[in-house]
Amino acid sequence: MDILYLLIPLSAVLVLGLIGLFGWALHRGQFDDLQREGERILDEGEAG
């Protein structure tokens, strides 16, 4: 069970990292218009 002493701090750091990732995506405007982004994949003539 000694591994828990490593995993618990690691999980806290991981959560903070994920929050940072979400914040980056949010402030780049990726959640401003969810509908358009979802439908972009159906557009013709757009690469990617």
Binding site: D32, Q35, R36, E44
Partner: protein, 760 residues
């Protein structure tokens, strides 16, 4: 680059290139190369599917000088970056038109950017709080499921440290608005719900931190980090939904606001007409006002005679005649004939501008609405503080080492989670239900005022009545203008209706709309319309008939035009002795009588508040059973009537549509504007009845009453839950897991109860 893109724009778009009109929608930046780049936001029309966004983006990409174009299908908006050296805004709009869509500059762009920022921040706070709450709950679970000494003390300590670390962002960032709100209320010396909320959060955190770092200290060894994080994320979730409802209302209003900039046709010295932005008009300018357009500013008629529709400005229901030298009011509509006007006052000096400034003043004097939750906050806080103090005092006598721990436990279990969700959750659910019915709430608090409303002031023209007049009767008239007979020849009536179809004059439209489009009984030839006079045409036998004003139908008559109470139109053949008179009257909205009766039944006193002439207002009030009538009212006297009722202690509501109603809408405790009404009225009303049904006022009030009931149930439940927990905490029998579970369950119960309102 070619110059073709910078060629002259079509007439109606040229005004887009005027810098004065670009202020609201366009932002200027300086690119690294030193030249200026414009970024304009446009409101799009005609989009019906997501693929349209791609088509418009492609069309914009084809305009030389457009650097980047982003189209949002959901928001029906485009963001375009363009180089003013290579293209113009009118060319950008023309490219969108060429693709088959409509585009107008978005004057509300700054407001929307502000909203977007607000939304991002709220979502960010909510995410941080809920994500941390999830992980804190993970850390808390072992403590709940482990029995006795199953878990090592140092492992428990490590989990508590982890919880403490993840609580920091929740406390310092996510809970920020609650602390700010509490600080604001304390500084203004009034109590709001934020004060007990902030106190609960702060006490939980301090006590749990004490327990984490000094388990043997005064705060005991229980930690409440999971309750704290869950509490903050629940509250933020409710606030986020509340904000979305508010934004939705604002957006629907802004899309109605978007239009091409208003222009005026100004006469330049040598007789040339130029189209200019309204903001460029100056007193002394001469402008041409075409038929059907609105007057750009206050002024005097210089050439031509006409009728004008001033209903939005004065409440006068029928068109009024204006001759050379008469004053015309900016914002009224020219119905009779094209005229030339000399501008006397522009902008804020016009009658329209004066009404708008009166409205601004009324807004600042409006009685403050006390939110029900805030009314509960004060007593609640004092009771909780008192209980905690009593608990601490009692325990310091029994067992001084546990005194602080028990006092803190009391403060934590009474943390008003359900109490602070009780009101916003009911409001959001009710606002959503109303939005689906076509009533957009701009201020959610307005529902509470609507439920408490005792007197409703209602405007006549455009609110109780429809915009268009309706044909109410026909008479046969002799040469002197006296009534000759009540029996009218039906074939002549049919012939007049057939002739009326070829005109766009409002009274002709009303006549044509009254009868179904049957096969034309008369084959009219050489139909000819003289603006401000009427129509003339020849029948199959070549006889000349005229439809229009008295002097038009009876040009040779020595009798003056007969005085009639209602507006009318004459119809007769050249040289005939008898002619027909068609009478018109205002048309009530289909559900007006029903709505007035329902409101009276519900115990709301009704007052008709009209700027129209007294006999017309009184006749209509009698038809609807309204006894209290204030006719001939100016915006000032309307405002005085409402303030008088408010001074008598009656919560007052107002339903209106015109510019002249705007000050009253701002002053009333709760105000509703018709969806077809003037922009200024819609902008400042608490709710806009987009459906234009008066029945929705009744519906909204009944829903508001039900909302009041649900709110009372929620508050009672939350208070009962808190009170039940207090004795347990006082006895020291309430473990943190039970407190957290109870808090979550009572919050969910409150939300589920509120959701009942979403069904209308």
């Amino acid at each position: 680059m070619t110059l073709t893109a910078v060629a002259a724009a079509p007439d109606d778009l040229a005004v887009l290139d005027d810098p004065i009109e670009q202020q609201g929608s366009t932002r200027w930046e300086t690119a690294p190369g030193g030249h200026r780049i414009a970024e304009t936001s446009l409101v799009l029309g005609g989009m019906h599917c997501a693929a349209c966004a791609g088509i418009i983006e492609a069309a914009l990409a084809g305009v030389p000088g457009v650097e980047r174009a982003e189209v949002s299908a959901a928001g029906q908006r485009a963001q375009v970056r363009w180089d003013p050296a290579l293209t113009r805004l009118s060319a950008v709009v023309e490219a969108i038109r060429g693709a088959g869509y409509e585009a107008v500059p978005d004057g509300a762009a700054p407001a929307r950017e502000l909203r977007q920022g607000e939304r991002r921040t709220a979502l960010w706070r909510l995410f941080v709080a809920s994500f941390c709450a999830m992980q804190i709950m993970m850390f808390a679970t072992p403590g709940y499921v482990a029995r006795g000494d199953e878990m090592a003390a140092d492992l428990r300590q490590l989990l508590n440290w982890g919880s403490w670390l993840l609580s920091m962002p929740v406390l310092l960032f996510s809970a920020g608005p609650f602390f700010q709100g509490a600080w604001r209320s304390l500084r203004q010396r009034r109590m709001g719900m934020d004060v007990p909320v902030a106190l609960g959060i702060a006490v939980s955190f301090v006590a749990s931190s004490g327990a984490t770092f000094d388990p043997a200290g005064v705060f005991g060894h229980e930690v409440y980090f999971d309750s704290l994080a869950m509490f903050v994320s629940f509250l933020l979730g409710a606030r986020f939904l509340e904000m979305l409802a508010r934004h939705r209302a604002a957006e629907s209003l802004e899309s109605a606001l978007a239009a091409l900039p208003e222009t005026a046709q100004r006469l330049v010295a040598d007789g040339v007409v130029e189209t200019v932005s309204l903001q460029r008009l100056r007193p002394g300018d001469r402008v041409l006002v075409p038929l059907g357009a609105s007057f750009p500013a206050d002024g005097r008629l210089e050439l031509g005679a006409t009728q004008v529709d001033e209903s939005l400005l004065t409440g006068e229901s029928l068109p009024v005649a204006r001759q050379v030298g008469d004053e015309v009011v900016g914002g009224s509509v020219n119905l009779g004939a094209p005229v030339r006007v000399r501008v006397e006052r522009v902008g804020a000096d016009t009658r329209h501008g004066a009404i708008v400034s009166l409205m601004r003043e009324a807004l600042t004097q409006r009685p403050a609405l006390v939110r029900r939750a805030d009314a509960w906050a004060g007593p609640f806080l004092w009771v909780v503080l008192l209980l905690a103090a009593v608990a601490g005092a009692v325990w310091s006598w029994i067992d001084p080492s546990r005194a602080i721990g028990v006092a803190v436990a009391v403060l934590i279990v009474t943390c008003p989670c359900a109490l602070s969700l009780a009101v916003p959750s009911a409001m959001v659910a009710a606002a959503g239900a109303l939005a689906r019915r076509g009533v957009m709430l701009q201020r959610l608090d307005a529902l509470e005022a609507l439920a408490g409303m005792r007197r409703l002031f209602i405007d006549k023209t455009g609110t109780l009545t429809e915009d268009q007049a309706s044909w109410v009767g026909t008479r046969l008239i002799d040469a002197a203008g006296r009534s000759a007979a009540d029996v009218v020849p039906p074939n002549q009536v049919a012939a007049a209706i057939a002739l009326a179809r070829s005109s766009s004059h409002p009274l002709a439209r009303a006549l044509a709309d009254a009868a179904p489009a049957t096969a034309a009984t008369v084959d009219w030839r050489q139909v000819h319309e003289v603006a401000g006079q009427g129509l003339e045409a020849r029948d199959g036998q070549g006889r000349l008939w005229r439809l229009g004003s008295w002097s038009w139908v009876r040009p040779a008559s020595t009798w003056p035009a007969p005085v009639t109470e209602l507006p009318c139109v004459w119809f007769g053949a050249e040289g005939s002795e008898l002619i027909l008179r068609f009478d018109f009257d205002e048309r009530l909205r289909a559900d007006a009588a029903e709505a007035v009766a329902a409101l009276t039944d519900d115990g709301v006193a009704m007052t008709l508040l009209s700027g129209d002439q007294p006999q017309r207002a009184e006749r209509l009030a009698a038809r609807l059973g309204i006894t209290d009538v204030r006719a001939g009212a100016t915006p000032q006297s309307k405002l005085a009537a409402v303030a008088e009722a408010q001074a008598a202690g009656q919560p007052v509501g107002m339903v209106g549509d015109g510019v002249n109603d705007a000050p009253v809408l701002a002053q009333a405790d709760v105000s509703l504007a018709m969806g077809r009404g003037a922009m200024v009225a819609r902008l400042h009303a608490d709710a806009v009845i987009v459906s234009n049904r008066l029945g929705d006022v009744v519906l909204a009030r009944r829903l508001a009453l039900r909302m009041g009931q649900v709110m009372r149930q929620n508050l009672a439940w939350a208070a009962a839950y808190n009170l039940a927990c207090v004795p347990l905490a006082l006895a020291g029998w309430l473990p943190p897991w039970a407190a957290g579970l109870g808090m979550a369950c009572s919050s969910l119960l409150v939300v589920a109860n509120s959701l009942r309102l979403a069904r209308v």
